[in-house]
């Protein structure tokens, strides 16, 4: 059902040409346009004006449809935020489990609606806090979790059947999920009731976040183990959050973020189908994670295109039948890499614009960055302002009152179409290369992202892109006007002491047994979730479990591309 008929478009074309000949030249003469061409971050040429001519082929039912119905361009829920606001899920974690538990409770008290955990680098890399590589890093960029004991402290007093928790963890995702399940078991919460998300997106690690432990194949195997286990035992858990965020932060354009993320999604669907699961048994639990940058309309178009494209991929490529398998549910984070160390309060404004784009793009969940993030970890004050930004958008701006308010904008619809079309070209290209792992091994993603990052920096250096307060409107001799959060170095000492005490006092024979069992299961290529749950319950540590897997799978060696 196209909206415009050919005759009307023809008449409109004549009117536009008339306008271009009569009205426009006078204006251009008086006021020259400030650039010879306007482009968005993805490199798309932006026209002066959009009219129905630009979307003349838009078929309302095929391309937009109604919210809550295929292809979900206008939202996965029929009433969107009128029924329920997005989940306000602030990323938090630093110091010990006790420090982070305090921050979690603070955020819940201030009105956030879901938890999101940042782990420190040793945890992310599968090292215990007392590992030599962990020196200087314990609790610094996130919370240190080495064993179930830490996890128990992290969720002390937080009922797991009442909140959902997102965990930004990839290589060791099965281990952290096992610990979460164990905490739930101890709290007496049935496994069918615990809800949340493990990031567990190992593919993007190889070309974006670069926190890889194992080589690509076993990494995808572990991701798939979690997907399979959740499909069978944890019906409310999102086993993977297919993440464009890090792809974008590493320097990709919005378009590359969209295309590469969807491709990773395709790869996980394929690997899970190979296990023998049916697409409708697990696809409804796949979730996505995107970044939102400053180019407002480019971002909105990206989110809308992402939903439509994923729905089409699921229906056409994977023959999903259940509409929920075609839903792209997404979490969005405003962009850390757009925040400046200069004049940090300006970051509140950037974050507001980015958050607004995410909401207008129809996200299910949102993290807003704190204004001091180019300088340090967020303080209580800065994280509160970031949360308040979401609350102001939700309760004061009125944008949540109607579904997909920008649907039908000639500009947004045209950009949405262009995003979808160009993302499909990338997907085709990666298909031709032989899929995601082949593309990683060829360095394709890495090169594309490094090139975009460099191009962007050149544009900033040459002032083709203005970054307010950074390369223009700067202040001489700027003094940092804000208080910074520092993690006390004594955190590391305390954490190491606690861990070593645990290692002395636990039943070490049982630990050894469970680790041997895990080794055997890994060699047999079994789904490792059940044995990992057993091991964490015996208080085997994250590092010990990862070491077993390192022995079986080997370690990844980075492909260096600059």
């Amino acid at each position: 059902m196209t909206i415009f008929d050919e005759k009307q478009i023809k008449e409109l074309k004549q009117e536009r040409e008339r306008w271009e000949k009569t009205t426009l030249p006078k204006w251009l003469e008086q006021c020259k346009e400030c650039k010879s061409e306007f482009r968005n971050h993805s490199g798309m040429l932006i026209k002066r004006l959009y009219t129905p001519e630009d979307v003349k082929d838009l078929d309302y039912m095929r391309d937009l449809g109604f919210p809550g119905e295929y292809p979900f361009t206008r939202g996965v829920h029929a009433t969107m935020y009128r029924g329920r606001l997005w989940t306000m899920r602030m990323f938090a974690g630093f110091g010990t489990a006790a420090d982070t538990n305090k921050r979690f409770k603070y955020l819940l008290k201030e009105g956030e609606s879901g938890l999101s955990t940042a782990f420190d680098y040793p945890t992310i890399m599968g090292y215990d806090s007392d590992h030599p590589m962990a020196k200087g890093e314990v609790g610094v960029c996130g919370v240190a979790i080495s064993s179930l004991q830490d996890m128990e402290v992290l969720f002390d007093g937080i009922p797991l059947d009442k909140v959902t928790t997102s965990m930004t963890i990839n290589g060791p995702a099965p281990i952290l999920l096992a610990m979460y399940v164990a905490v739930g078991d101890k709290q007496g919460v049935p496994r069918t009731k615990i809800g949340g998300t493990t990031q567990n997106d190992n593919l993007k690690e190889f070309f974006a976040q670069k926190l890889c432990i194992f080589p690509p194949k076993p990494s995808v195997k572990l991701t798939t183990d979690v997907i399979e286990y959740c499909a069978r035992h944890l019906p409310k858990w999102n086993p993977v959050s297919i993440s464009g965020y890090h792809i974008r932060e590493a320097g990709a354009t919005a378009l590359q973020e969209l295309a590469f993320t969807l491709y990773d999604g395709i790869a996980y669907v394929e690997s899970t189908l190979e296990r023998g699961l049916k697409v409708d048994e697990f696809a409804h639990r796949l979730s996505f994670f995107f970044a939102s940058h400053n180019d407002f309309f480019e971002e909105i178009a990206k989110f809308r295109a992402a939903r439509r494209l994923w729905a089409r991929i699921m229906k056409e490529r994977f023959k999903a039948k259940n509409p929920r398998s075609m839903w792209m549910r997404m979490h969005v984070q405003t962009s850390g890499c757009t925040l400046t160390a200069q004049q940090p309060l300006n970051n509140i404004v950037r974050t507001t614009i980015q958050a607004l784009a995410a909401v207008l793009g129809g996200t299910q969940s949102l993290h807003t960055n704190s204004f001091d993030e180019a300088l340090c970890l967020p303080t209580e004050e800065s994280v509160r302002v970031a949360l308040r930004t979401q609350q102001i958008i939700a309760y004061e701006s009125g944008v949540a009152n109607t579904v997909d308010p920008l649907g039908g904008s000639y500009y947004v619809e045209e950009l949405t179409n262009e995003m979808e079309e160009k993302a499909m070209e990338y997907i085709q290209k990666i298909d031709d290369m032989g899929g995601a792992i082949a593309a990683i091994e060829k360095g394709f993603f890495q090169k594309e992202i490094a090139d975009s990052a460099y191009k962007y920096q050149r544009e900033v250096d040459e002032k083709k892109r203005i970054i307010v307060g950074c390369n223009e409107y700067t202040i001489e001799e700027e003094k940092c006007p804000i208080e910074l959060l520092r993690v006390d170095p004594k955190v590391e000492k305390e954490q190491v002491a606690r861990l070593q005490k645990l290692k002395r006092e636990r039943d070490n024979r049982k630990v050894k047994e469970t680790l041997e069992k895990l080794h055997y299961a890994a060699e047999k290529d079994e789904n490792l979730m059940p044995t990992i749950i057993e091991a964490v319950k015996a208080y085997a540590t994250l590092g010990e479990i990862t070491d077993v897997l390192r022995k079986v799978y080997g370690e990844y060696k980075e492909l260096i591309i600059i």
Binding site: C337, A341, L375, A453, D461, C480, I562
Partner: protein
């Protein structure tokens, strides 16, 4: 015209931090400015970095870190450089390094710290002007 030896720069990422966007952009910018650039890749220990600097006979080392572990790792690197007699190598750093740590890092011999938002030209210019004269 006398041909000048190319400036050799090692760009290194110590610690576990995986944010390599800045390090790679700087590496490429220095290379485009005509220098020989060696990039170590991620997660290098202080020992590995100093060993590479020695093997590659570099004039300059650029350290990049965003995780906050600089206070633990930079002093160790400077100590090892001095132990190996690489005292004529110029070391600069970049990343997320709080203002209040800068004086301390300069005291141990790091010549300059470039925060987020530094144009690559500034770094290129700094290296060209401060590269040590070597025989």
């Amino acid at each position: 015209m006398q041909s000048k030896k190319k400036i050799r720069v090692l760009i290194a990422k110590p610690g576990l931090d995986s944010h390599d966007r800045g390090a790679k952009v700087v590496a490429r910018a220095l290379r485009d400015a005509g220098m020989e650039v060696i990039y170590t890749g991620l997660r290098q220990t202080p020992e590995q970095i100093v060993e590479t600097a020695l093997q590659e006979d570099v004039d300059v080392i650029g350290l990049s870190i965003l995780s906050g572990a600089h206070k633990a790792l930079f002093p160790r690197i400077m100590e090892l450089l001095s132990q190996k007699g690489l005292t004529d190598v110029m070391v600069f750093a970049g990343g997320i390094i709080p203002e209040e740590d800068i004086a301390e890092l300069k005291k141990i011999g790091i010549k300059e710290i470039f925060g987020p938002g530094t144009p690559t030209e500034t770094i290129i210019k700094y290296v060209l002007e401060n590269v040590p004269e070597r025989a």
